[in-house]
Amino acid sequence: MLKLHDISAFYGNINALSKINLKVKKGEIVSLLGANGAGKSSTLKVISGLLEPREGDVFFRDNKITGMEPEIIVDHGIIHIPEGRQIFPALTVEENLKIGAYRIRKSTDWRDKLDNIFEYFPALSDRRQQKGGTLSGGEQQMLAIARGLMAEPELLMLDEPSLGLAPLIVKDIFKIIKKINSEGVTILLVEQNANMALKVANRAYILETGEIVHSGNAKDLASDEKVKEAYLGSTH
């Protein structure tokens, strides 16, 4: 469904990605792991059009989407939920969800989707008229995911959705990600929480300073000694 071919990307002279090759098949959950500064977010930015790669191509369902404007890429069905739960703080919960439905505004009334969304995120339903900025961190992350779902994405990319959240909420979030996937949405998940990410994922890629150093089946990677040592805090 998604294919990155030899992607290299730069911020000025800083080489953030070198020759990245990556594939996501329809229906999968694929995790992208790596330490701080490895290039995880940059990879998502290249896919969603925020960062234009210097070399290589991005294909989505056989269309070349390299270098397209982000809003056009959204139209293709890719939604990128950026790191740091960037909801619109001065918009209400409902308005945040409404803008999420921008992509499908012509075909669907955004209100018709609310019930379905609140099934995933019951906590949000009591806070419809509350300003986004007044929600707790966990609620804001829920809202960020909910807002992305409103667009009816075919591929949902989440950038560190568990960052800075309490373990219980992290568990909730991973459950929700699995549920979203079970309803047919393909998922590309960026995480530092490698344990959890490998548990939910079918496959995973591991980035190190802009290069993919491991990839494969999530289960195999989770039991790989080298990976364990470097990313899973194992003491073997």
Binding site: L50, V74, I81, I99
Partner: protein
């Protein structure tokens, strides 16, 4: 009678105040969406008014039965195109520059627009007709139907604008773009189109304000200087971060201006209006309805 004169001044203040409000809303709309302070809003409105005036004169001379309506529609069409072109040619290419850089761009626009208006239309002052001519007397009060037209038109424009911003998908897209344009893009909002649209809207509102004030100021290259300044005062007074603030600010400035001009002296008008703004800003640094700006992430 005394109270009638007072009322007449208040009414006149509401009339000019609603024009300040229109112009101020245009400035605030652009500022919020593209972080640009459009110091050229007044000059752009002046240019549009010259075009409108020209259409009015030509269609009257050509024997068109409703030259004012032709001019009004012409004003809307011209200003929409004008706003679109200014955004495309001057604003979009410089959208990545610093705040100071963007300010210099619109300051430069003042000179360019004013200079071209002088070159194209000349420096003479021209009479422009009111939308509705004549006046009505209530005792000592003289009220022009044109005033009702101006206030009514301003109210309708503002209501449409507020409804759009508050309730429509495009309005939420405008507010989302104003808060965080990168994330708005990630939700599929065409932020460049949103920005262009706000320039078109603001330029149209400025053109209408220009056309409505023209009977009082005449049409000439300096016609918008006062209303432009007052609209900025209105925007700062009401608060740049709110859409209601500039409207209230505009009305307050309009009424205060008129009352001071009548009861104290026209010489002190501007000084007192400025003084009023300063006092308000001491107590409400972000304006009456402004909020402390949140940092964009």
């Amino acid at each position: 009678m005394h109270w009638q004169i007072f009322l007449q001044n208040v009414f006149g203040g509401i009339e000019t105040g609603s024009l300040y409000a229109l112009a101020a809303l245009g400035v605030v709309l652009i500022y919020r969406v593209s972080d640009v302070t459009n110091f050229a809003q007044g000059e752009m409105a002046m240019f549009s008014t010259f075009v409108t005036y020209t259409i009015w004169v030509y269609s009257a001379n050509a024997g068109f039965p409703y030259p004012y309506i032709a001019a009004f529609i012409g004003a809307l069409i011209f200003s929409a195109i004008f706003g679109f072109l200014i955004e495309r040619i001057f604003i979009r290419p410089t959208s990545d520059s610093s705040l100071l850089g963007k300010m210099i761009v619109t300051l430069g626009l003042i000179l360019m627009v004013n200079g071209s208006a002088g070159a194209i239309f000349g420096t003479d002052s021209h009479y422009m007709q009111r939308a509705i001519t004549g006046h009505i007397r209530f005792g000592n009060m003289i009220i022009r139907p044109h005033s009702f037209f101006v206030i009514g038109l301003a109210i309708v424009i503002m209501l449409v604008l507020f409804y759009m911003i508050k309730f429509t998908m495009f309005g939420v897209a405008i507010r989302a773009t104003a808060q965080n344009d990168k994330v708005a893009k990630l939700m599929g909002v065409p932020t460049k189109k949103v920005t262009a649209f706000t320039w078109i809207m603001a330029t149209m509102m400025g053109a209408i304000a220009g056309l409505m004030i023209a009977p009082a100021t005449n049409v000439y290259t300096g016609m918008m200087a006062d209303i432009h300044l007052k609209s900025f005062i209105a925007a700062v007074l009401g608060g740049f971060t709110s859409f209601v603030g500039p409207v209230i600010g505009g009305l307050m400035i309009g009424i205060l201006d008129n009352l001071v001009g009548y009861y104290i002296s026209t010489n002190w008008q501007t000084v007192i209006v400025y003084g009023f703004l300063i006092i308000i800003l001491i107590f409400k640094p972000y304006g009456l309805f402004g909020e402390i700006p949140k940092k964009k992430v």
